[in-house]
Amino acid sequence: MKDPDIKRLLYAHLLCIFSVILSTFIPSIFLENFSILETHLTWLCVCSAFVTAVNLVLYLVVKPKTPSKRSSLSHKVARFLKCCIYFLISCFGFHVIFVLYGAPLIELVLETFLFAVILSTFTTVPCLCLLGPNIRAWLRVFSRNGVTSIWENSLQITTISSIVGAWLGAFPIPLDWERPWQVWPISCTLGATFGYVAGLAISPLWIYWNRKQLTYKNN
């Protein structure tokens, strides 16, 4: 791949990181008593809205591939609806996984669901934007050697790092420090956010470091 490609990737990721940081500061201008720990659910909604918006903008503006066939309006609307449905399915899927991991079933449902929403925002929304609602393409990208461009490579890295971040964020829960950020689901959502931001920061660097070894099978 060429260096300009990597530069574009880097700028796109910087924009995403910036949007996450903005989501922590902008709402305090409009709302009183806004803080990440106190009004956590509000922050989750705001953050996922910002990240989704940025990802959509990147998709519309910086699109790496242009499928020129079948771009009629009804088809576009159908695609958009399919994307929304996949996003909702992934939210519910994550919610079920969290309950199976031990989250309470009947209490704190909204908190668990919003955690699922934000984790889907970090993982599913970039997949949808980059690859479209095409399960086959997703399976191809997440198998070990199926990537075909640096965008897909970076998608792998950010998705896995946000999931690992959420997983590591569960570690402080059994401790008896009684800090406000140990309440469910704050430590896990913060872990997922840190993982996502770390993935966004690391992937251009990693790709740049390994640009000689990475070769892609191009269709």
């Binding site: 199976l100 991991y101 059994p174």
Partner: protein
């Protein structure tokens, strides 16, 4: 308890809620009551070798002053104070299932002793309530009956004391206290609120009668009793007591006496501070003590000059308050121990570093990375007291992550297999008619598989290919089924320090309103156990197993845990000894048959089949014993254990061809998780002692210890036994069993050795008694169980070797 309530509310008494410090087990608590010191503060090493209490205590001072002490009750007192009693009768404290005779043994002496005049101190230690708690929990109907019995004993003693006082004109003191409380499940040992709160009621005609309004009991420390008793009896306060005099008992006395007693207490505490804290002069309590001593001196001067009583009273009150504050600060400084640093941050840092190293292990499959990281992470987590208290969370987390990793593995193999057929939708694979036709597809699959994955996965993929579509769906669904099972079991028993008092399904089932639900659940679970286990047994052992499970239900009906259809109304609950012994006979029968088959396989020609049948029969014997010893609400745990074993063996390990090491570690992890699903924890309070008395008339040490240990470690033992069965039935490779034994021993011994090192370095930690020592006991026991399991492995391995 009507009489006690009357005394507390209207009588001449002072009542408190005394907080005990962990471990809330009888012997340390008796030490705390009599010496006023805390176990970790004074050097306990002296007491490790001899059970005799060597520290200064109230009883020793009393005996030295010539007081005559009589004791009836728990023989722990006789062991702690062997020469102090002029008369004693100790009852053994271990026979938990008896709660009437232990108390009758004490009460029978009461009549005669209360009439006599030749004693000064009478100590009675009743064990019945404690035993009832262990047997059936704090909400059982037996508790009310026992409390009325205790109330009548109290009334008898109090009235006898009052009549003695009319004769001798000296007031007497009746102290009603508890050594520890009772947790929600009825046991004790840890530091939950219900276990550390004990009642303390001091009744004496020397106190003033309270006005009519109800007083709320004050909260004090259990160690305050020793100082109060010493001052009350006119004895020196025990040297290492950290308690404060309970000031309320001095209310009616003249001010000079009150100040004198407070001064005595303060001097004793300050001297103790001087000995043990290097910078004692800077301590705020010591400074306050010096100020109060000076003020006391001023007050004495005023008193001797016989100044006006108004000024005297005001100054006296000020001195009093100063003394009380000084005592509080001194007591706090002495109870506080060396500041602790939680090694958690260090552990987390190390864990994060190691997890990031996982990126270097990329060529390994995710499952192996997870297994290694999980083991390392668990060992590191043992350094933090919170993680030991909540160790069940670690294991549940690891098991859930393992299931998800297996899910990912299965999906990867399934979807990659499907993506070979271009355009074919997911479930639409035609069944391969036979191995020959499948060959070209397999070869193709193998080739493409080599392109997409590492070469090590090819064998697994081809084994997976050979499955039909129905089996594939079972394979895809099994990790999710296991996850759901584990999630349901998590709701059954809340365990650990933070969750133990929260209501869970187990509590709901054992409450007496829901006996019908419990009976239905028990019957259903026993049926499910039979269905899951009987398939690979020989016909005779199948019959014996069925009869044994029926016997288990009869036993539970006989002791009153579940309802039985043939008992109308509530008959007397018996101990169910006959039914339990029947089940023991069946268990021994099955184990004998299994061993016979195993030995026969060494000799006869039909070796392999007889061996697998023999090993499976031994497994089913252990399952039957577990069904007998587990409490009825825990039978779903047994059923789930067997269900998960079946699912994993048939649909995950065989189709995906996991190697021996992975299978062994997964068995070990599941064994650990099921240990906690049952309700166990790293707390001494959750050991179910009543399992050691199933089918026994009285306390017999050997069988009781064995049965209790088996009932506690049912999870790991059953999973280990299943591992032996699985590996023998594989018949793939002979060294598999030896390799598995080595892996199991390694994975079991690494945490123990690391933990011993950790405990040695953490021996001055604040939580050394409440958290780290109980865990050490559990680890030691588990090491014994692991050793027994490995010897069983070796025996089965020898059987294999001798055959070939």
């Amino acid at each position: 308890m009507p009489y006690t309530t009357y005394l507390v509310e209207k009588g001449a008494s002072h009542s408190f809620v005394a907080e005990a410090k962990p471990p809330t087990v009888t012997m340390p608590r008796i030490k705390a009551l009599m010496t006023g010191s805390l176990p970790g503060f004074v050097d306990v090493v002296r007491n490790l070798n001899s059970p005799v209490l060597l520290e200064d205590n109230v009883l020793r001072q009393a005996a030295a002053a010539g007081k005559r002490i009589i004791f009836y009750g728990d023989e722990t007192w006789v062991r702690l104070f062997p020469k102090h009693f002029v008369e004693h009768d100790g009852t053994t404290s271990f026979f938990v299932s008896d709660y009437t005779e232990v108390d009758d043994n004490v009460t029978r002496h009461l009549e005669t002793v209360l009439k006599r005049d030749d004693w000064d101190v009478l100590i009675l230690h009743y064990l019945g309530l404690d035993h009832i708690g262990h047997l059936s929990g704090p909400h059982s109907p037996l508790v009310g009956h026992k409390l009325s019995e205790m109330d009548s004993v109290l009334m008898k003693i109090h009235l006898a004391l009052l009549s003695k006082e009319r004769a001798s004109l000296l007031p007497s003191l009746l102290v009603l206290c508890g050594d520890h409380g009772m947790s929600e499940t009825g046991s004790h040992g840890a530091s939950s609120m219900e276990e550390v709160s004990t009642p303390l009621v001091l009744i004496s005609s020397a106190f003033e009668r309270s006005p009519g309004n109800a007083r709320r009991p004050r909260h004090v420390q259990q160690t305050d009793l020793a100082a109060t008793l010493a001052i009350g009896l006119g004895l020196p306060i025990p040297q290492s007591s950290v308690g404060r005099l309970l000031f309320q008992v001095l209310e009616g006395r003249p001010m000079r006496d009150q100040l004198r007693f407070l001064h005595l207490n303060a001097v004793q505490l300050s001297r103790l501070l001087q000995e043990n804290v290097p910078l004692y002069e800077k301590d705020p309590g010591f400074e306050q003590f010096k100020i109060s001593e000076r003020l006391h001196g001023n007050w004495i001067k005023l008193y001797l000059e016989e100044n006006s009583s108004e000024v005297l009273l005001n100054l006296g009150t000020k001195v009093l308050r100063q003394y009380l504050d000084a005592l509080q600060s001194l007591s706090l400084s002495l109870s506080r121990q060396v500041a602790h640093y939680d090694t958690y941050s260090m552990a987390v840092g190390a864990a994060l570093v190691l997890e990031s190293l996982a990126a270097c292990l990329w060529p390994w499959s995710e499952l192996d990375v997870l297994i290694v990281m999980g083991t390392v992470g668990h060992v590191l987590s043992l350094g933090a007291s919170s993680f030991i208290e909540e160790e069940h969370q670690t294991w549940y987390f690891l098991v859930s992550t393992l299931c998800l990793a297996l899910c990912q593995d299965v999906c990867r193999k399934h979807f990659l297999g499907c993506s070979k057929e271009d355009g074919a939708p997911q479930g639409d694979r035609r069944e391969e008619p036979g191995p020959r036709e499948a060959d070209p597809a397999l070869r193709d699959g193998a080739v493409r598989c080599a392109m997409l994955e590492g070469t090590g996965v090819c064998g697994a993929a081809s084994a997976f290919e050979a499955l039909g579509s129905a089996e594939r769906q079972m394979v895809l669904a099994s990790p999710w089924a296991v996850l759901c099972c584990c999630r349901l079991l998590r709701a059954l028993n809340q365990t650990g320090v933070q969750g133990a008092h929260r209501p869970d399904l187990g509590h709901w089932l054992t409450s007496s309103d829901h006996k019908a639900a419990l009976s239905a659940l028990t019957a259903f679970s026993l049926l499910a156990v039979f269905l899951l286990v009987h398939r690979r047994c020989s016909p005779m052992s199948r019959v014996v197993l069925a009869l044994g499970l029926l016997g288990v239900y009869c036993y539970r009906a006989a002791i009153g845990n579940v309802m039985s259809p043939w008992q109308r109304g509530s008959k007397d609950v018996s101990k169910g000894i006959m039914e339990a012994r029947f089940v023991y006979v069946f268990v021994l029968g099955i184990l004998f048959t299994g061993t016979k088959d195993l030995l026969r396989s060494q000799v006869a020609a039909a070796g392999a089949k007889a061996r697998t049948v023999g090993l499976w029969e031994i497994h089913s014997g252990l399952v039957l014993l577990a069904a007998l010893l587990l409490r009825p609400h825990n039978l779903p745990v047994l059923v789930s254990s067997l269900l998960v074993q079946t699912l994993m063996a048939n649909f995950i390990w065989k189709p995906l061809s996991h190697d021996t090491a992975e299978v062994t570690v997964m068995h070990y992890w599941f064994g650990q998780a099921f240990f906690y699903f049952q309700g166990n924890s790293n707390n001494i309070a959750t050991v179910d002692i009543s399992a050691g008395f199933v089918g026994l008339e009285q306390y017999v040490e050997g069988p009781a210890v064995f049965l209790t240990a088996f009932a506690t470690y049912v999870g790991p033992v059953l999973w280990a036994s299943h591992l032996v069965n699985y590996l023998s039935s594989e018949a793939s490779s002979l060294p598999a069993l030896r390799h598995a034994c080595f892996c199991y021993a390694l994975v079991g011994s690494v945490p123990v050795s690391a933990y011993v090192v950790l405990v040695t370095s953490l021996r001055y930690h604040l939580f050394i008694w409440s958290v780290f020592s109980p865990k050490l006991l559990y680890e030691g026991m588990r090491a014994l169980v692991t050793a027994a399991v490995c010897s069983f492995f070796t025996a089965a391995d020898q059987a294999t070797l001798a055959r070939t």
